[in-house]
């Protein structure tokens, strides 16, 4: 800029000395990968775009393409990034022994094996082949399951299949009644 410009910029009524750093500003979505997701909160079914950079989610926004939300989100949907990155998020297995007053850390594999053992124990102890009329029932009431409305359909399918069809567990319930 010439003298006039300089004066206008540095002395004028509307000074505008933009810093070199400011000139470089770009949105962090530049060069990010994007995948399509669905909001995990309510049942409206808003489509979301998940932006990732080097294996990390950097942003989650509404998807303009969706005939339902057309790019918009509610506060919960807009907080999905916060749901994944909350400081309260737990990413390790915690174990509380009977009558204990504290959590202990345990390896995932140990927990899986321990849970499988407990399921077998309880199932074996509570399994009914026939009821009092001699009808085959092949079931147990000794184990229960809660949840499903926040999971995926495929996961619900596995729950019903493994727990009911495979193990004979009857009390399988989700939030649909709540």
């Amino acid at each position: 800029m010439g003298i006039g410009g300089l004066l206008k910029t540095y002395v004028g009524m509307v000074p505008n000395p933009m810093s070199s750093k400011m000139r470089q500003v770009r949105s962090r979505l530049r060069g990010a990968d994007v995948t399509v997701s669905v909001c995990p909160y309510c049942a409206v079914g808003c489509s979301q775009l998940v932006y990732t950079k080097d294996g990390r989610i950097i942003d989650i926004e509404g998807n303009y393409e969706s005939p339902i939300n057309g790019g918009t989100l509610c506060p919960k949907g807009a907080a999905t990034y916060g749901l994944l990155h909350s400081p309260h998020r737990i990413t390790t297995v915690k174990y509380r022994a009977p009558y204990s007053d504290h959590w202990e850390d345990r390896p995932l594999d140990w927990a899986m094996e321990r849970i499988a053992q407990l399921v077998k124990q309880t199932r074996d102890a509570t399994y009914e082949e026939t009821d009092e009329h001699g009808t085959t029932v092949n079931r147990t009431l000794g184990i229960g399951h809660l949840g499903g409305a926040t999971l995926d359909n495929e996961e619900n399918y596995l729950i019903k299949k493994l727990f009911a069809a495979g193990l004979g567990i009857v009390p399988i319930e989700n939030q649909a009644r709540i």
Partner: protein, 863 residues
């Protein structure tokens, strides 16, 4: 949602959110849509800007009311009286009786002309009861509710085993086509029965019960009437504020009844939109994690006194109707058995029918809580559910958890259910010590959408896929991973066990391919199984019409069949939206139909009722149904089709039968079966109520409501002076359900950081409470403290000459996370709607006083 299923045939929203934009009037009742479904509310505002009238009928003035043209406050729990009043008003209105549209719609598309068993008696004859009541068992036998001249006795509706979803299709066998009176004059025809039943629901009566002033009610009724008809449609939106009552199912079915009368079902801008609360709560009923259902609303086999499905043959005899879409039940069930037990399912062993567990008693969520406390249930999995906060009578729920041998919590945060043994109010108050709690607790970190792929089914039955973008952090894993590997280990543990329990798990097909470093099961392999394939060559089936009952096909959930019609085409992934039906966005069961029963969008001759409201219509030249949507009936069935003698399945339905799942193809104003507490919706008071029931003084409360009363779950007597206020619970925009997904998220927690109770200035003045003061709310189940939010948005109502105060409490809050507060469900009770087995959290009674809890339990930590 049996309320819809019993009258229309499918337990799902009949319409889409987008379709609301085409409405001329939107009635939001039993829902706070703007707060709990803000994005869905866009379409309400679109309709409004196009000139539609928006009405909010709700005890509270909420963010929805603020955007409505009409706010009609009513006493929580009086909804059915209001709907009954509307039905009565409509039937006697000048408009309804003069405009031929209504009569044409009703005579062709509903069972109004059907003659009912002349032995049927209604509450007006029998002091508040329907005929067939078995007092000592608090249930009905429904023989007298049946269509006239039908030989076969109905089945499911009278069973004692509790079905969450009704089975209207099980109207025995229509041994003769229903006897009709097109003039609607026969005293035993449904129309006359309905008219008689609702005759006493006058505007004056509505005012006495609900507190809605007469003129205001008339304004409401007139607006709905004026916006229904050939060229206009009214839509109803509801949510759990209708469901969560001992009469919840009947409230919803009353709405279905009203909408059928008004000719609003199956048409754009009409219908009933059930607004559901979780990402895939619809999906988890379609592919049910529910004790009494198999995928696709097939009932679990029963082993009760009245229903004993010893063999596959017995099961089918009871559960297969001869007419309507359910005629193919055998193909659906046997394909499911093939999907689950593969080669172990052979014709010789009834396709492994015996491997399926049979149910006897109630094992619903509410029943599970006492089961834990009483030591019947010893182990529990919680996957993304928080019973320590979300369970009714949460105090009892936590006692139940404390009595388990082991508990597996899979979640992303340390929710109350995982922390109950050291953090629960009773523990903090020193009433219980961790050292006394035996439960072995596992917390397994879960993965979230974005960290796993899979599909959700939203509130309008739309199945949408979410891609995986990154691996979950640390030990976090998807539920699919957990279940697949747990199943693998269990199969290992039972290897060689030849007892029944060993054979059961051994028979299960469990060979999903895995991928990636975490050995995640391939999710689309599960979708293949859900869609179905031919056993011989494993080729995918195009949709459920290809399913067979000879074991040649396998299908995990018949109503989802068609979601993956060919290799590499996952229709949940289709993402091409458009302005109208958006048929290429996601996949909507059944067969990608967007507006259910859309045959009714055309007149009996197949022409659109009006240009403005056209949706699908009969193209005579092409000999097929065409339009904006997938027709919800056989595509080439002409409007004038008449079923030949002895026709079965859908062929037994005429060309003007929109309700393909019903035995007679008609919408049921009168539910001959499928509902356990009466064929016609009847107003009963909530189980806990400060007032009587002027409609049926002898029978104030539901005669069929299922009671779980016990010392640790006591009820308030009718009009108990110790608990004078009506309490209702609800959600806030800023939080989600029991808070597990919101109270731990800083950006949401700050917006509603603490639990509170909303009371009217009138009540506040009586009790000397100022905005922000601490108050204690108590019931016989428990007591909590909260901040008082004194607001004119709450108001007392004059009910039958008495002033009734209402208290409102958001039920999100608990003792874990950033935003904390007293647990509203510590106050609620276990008591069930007999049809859906849902609890009553929207209307019960409580006491409220200024002050704090001595124990300090429930105090938020910030202090």
């Amino acid at each position: 949602m049996p309320g819809l299923g019993a009258r229309l045939g499918r337990g799902g929203a009949t319409t889409t959110q987008q379709s609301l934009a085409d409405s001329d009037c939107i009635v939001i009742m039993g829902s706070n849509m703007a707060e709990n479904h803000p994005v869905g509310f866009r379409f309400v505002l679109t309709a409004k800007t196009r000139g539609a009238t928006v009405i909010h009928v709700d005890p509270r003035f909420s963010r929805t009311s603020a955007l409505a043209d009409l706010h009609v406050p009513l006493r929580a729990g009086s909804d059915l009286a209001v709907l009954g009043g509307l039905i009565n008003y409509v039937l006697n209105s000048e408009r309804w009786n003069s405009d031929p549209f209504f009569r044409e719609y009703v005579t062709h598309y509903t069972n109004a002309p059907v003659i009912i068993n002349p032995d049927f008696r209604g509450p007006e004859d029998l002091a508040g009861l329907f005929s067939g009541y078995v007092a000592d068992e608090r249930r009905y036998t429904t023989d007298t509710w049946q269509y006239a001249d039908q030989q076969a006795r109905p089945a499911a509706a009278e069973d004692q085993a509790q079905t969450a979803e009704p089975r209207p299709q099980y109207l025995g066998r229509l041994t003769a086509p229903p006897r009709l009176d097109p003039t609607l004059q026969d005293p035993h025809c449904v129309f006359q029965l309905v008219k008689r039943h609702y005759a006493r629901y006058t505007p004056e009566m509505v005012e006495r019960v609900s507190g809605i002033p007469r003129d205001r009610f008339v304004r409401l009724a007139e607006t709905i009437l004026a916006n229904s008809g050939r060229d206009r449609t009214t839509a109803f939106c509801y949510a759990v504020a209708w469901t969560q009552h001992t009469t919840g199912t009947q409230i919803i079915s009353a709405c279905a009844l009203l909408q059928l009368l008004l000719g609003n079902i199956g048409r754009p801008g009409g219908g009933i939109l059930a607004l559901r609360g979780h990402a895939t709560i619809q999906g988890s009923t379609d592919i049910p994690t529910l004790y009494n259902l198999l995928p696709g609303y097939l009932p679990m086999p029963m082993a009760t006194e009245l229903e004993r499905d010893r063999t596959l043959e017995e099961y089918l005899r009871r559960n297969r109707p001869l007419t309507g879409a359910w005629y193919n039940t055998p193909a659906y069930l046997i394909s499911l058995l093939k999907a689950w037990y593969g080669d172990a399912a052979t014709p010789e062993n009834d396709f492994g029918y015996d491997f399926l567990p049979k149910i006897s008693g109630d094992a619903s969520f509410q029943a599970m809580i006492p089961m834990m406390k009483d030591g019947i249930m010893k182990g529990l999995f919680c996957m993304g559910m928080n019973p320590a906060v979300g369970g009714q009578n949460a105090v009892l729920a936590r006692e139940g958890l404390a009595n388990l041998d082991w508990l597996v919590v899979r979640d992303v945060y340390e929710i109350e259910t995982a922390a109950f043994w050291y953090d629960a109010p009773e523990v903090r108050a020193g009433k219980v010590r961790p050292q006394d709690i035996k439960t072995e607790v596992f917390f397994l970190p879960a993965a979230l959408a974005g960290e796993k792929e899979g599909s959700f089914t939203n509130t309008q039955r739309l199945v949408q896929w979410h891609d995986k973008s990154i691996d979950p952090p640390g030990d976090a894993r998807s539920e699919a991973w957990f279940l697949y590997h747990l199943g693998r280990r269990l199969k290992e543990l039972y290897r060689g066990d030849d007892t029944a329990k060993g054979r059961q798990i051994a028979a299960l097909t469990w060979d999903y391919p895995t991928e990636g470093p975490l050995q995640e099961p391939v999710i689309e392999a599960i979708v293949r199984e859900i869609n179905g394939y031919t056993v011989a060559d494993g080729r995918l089936v195009p949709d459920f019409s290809a399913l067979r009952d000879d074991g040649s096909t396998a299908c995990g959930c018949w109503i989802y069949s068609g979601i993956m019609p060919e290799e590499g085409r996952n229709r949940a992934k289709s993402r091409r939206g458009d302005e109208r039906a958006a048929l290429e966005w996601g996949y909507s069961w059944p067969r990608n139909v967007r507006i259910l029963y859309n045959r009714a969008s055309a007149d009996p001759q197949g022409r659109p009722w009006s240009e403005r409201k056209k949706w699908i219509w009969w193209d005579a030249a092409a000999g097929r149904w065409t339009g904006y949507d997938v027709p919800d009936l056989p595509e080439t069935k002409p409007p004038d089709y008449q079923p030949p003698e002895g026709a079965v399945g859908l062929d037994a339905h005429p060309g003007d039968a929109p309700f393909v799942n019903m035995a007679d193809g008609r919408g049921w104003l009168f539910a001959a079966s499928g509902l356990r507490d009466g064929p016609l919706p009847t107003h009963y008071e909530p189980w806990e109520t400060p007032v009587g029931n002027p409609l049926y003084p002898e029978q104030p409360r539901s005669p069929a409501a299922i009671l779980l009363e016990r010392p640790d779950n006591r009820y308030h007597a009718l009009g108990d002076p110790r608990f004078p206020y009506v309490l209702t619970t609800y959600r806030l925009t800023e939080h989600h359900t029991a808070g597990g997904m919101s109270r731990f998220v800083p950006w949401l927690a700050e917006l509603q950081p603490q639990g509170f109770a909303e009371i009217s200035p009138e009540l506040a003045r009586e009790l000397g409470i100022d905005n922000g003061d601490w108050v204690v709310i108590s019931t016989l189940r428990g007591e909590i403290e909260a901040r008082a939010l004194v607001t004119e948005r709450m108001q007392p109502l004059e009910v039958d000459g008495r002033r009734i105060h209402q208290v409102g409490i958001p039920w999100h809050f608990g003792y874990s996370g950033i935003a904390t507060g007293g647990i509203a469900n510590d106050l609620s009770a276990l008591v069930e709607d007999p049809n859906s087995r849902i609890h009553e959290a929207k209307a019960f009674t409580c006491n409220l006083r200024k002050g704090r809890l001595r124990s300090g339990a429930g105090e938020e930590r910030r202090e």
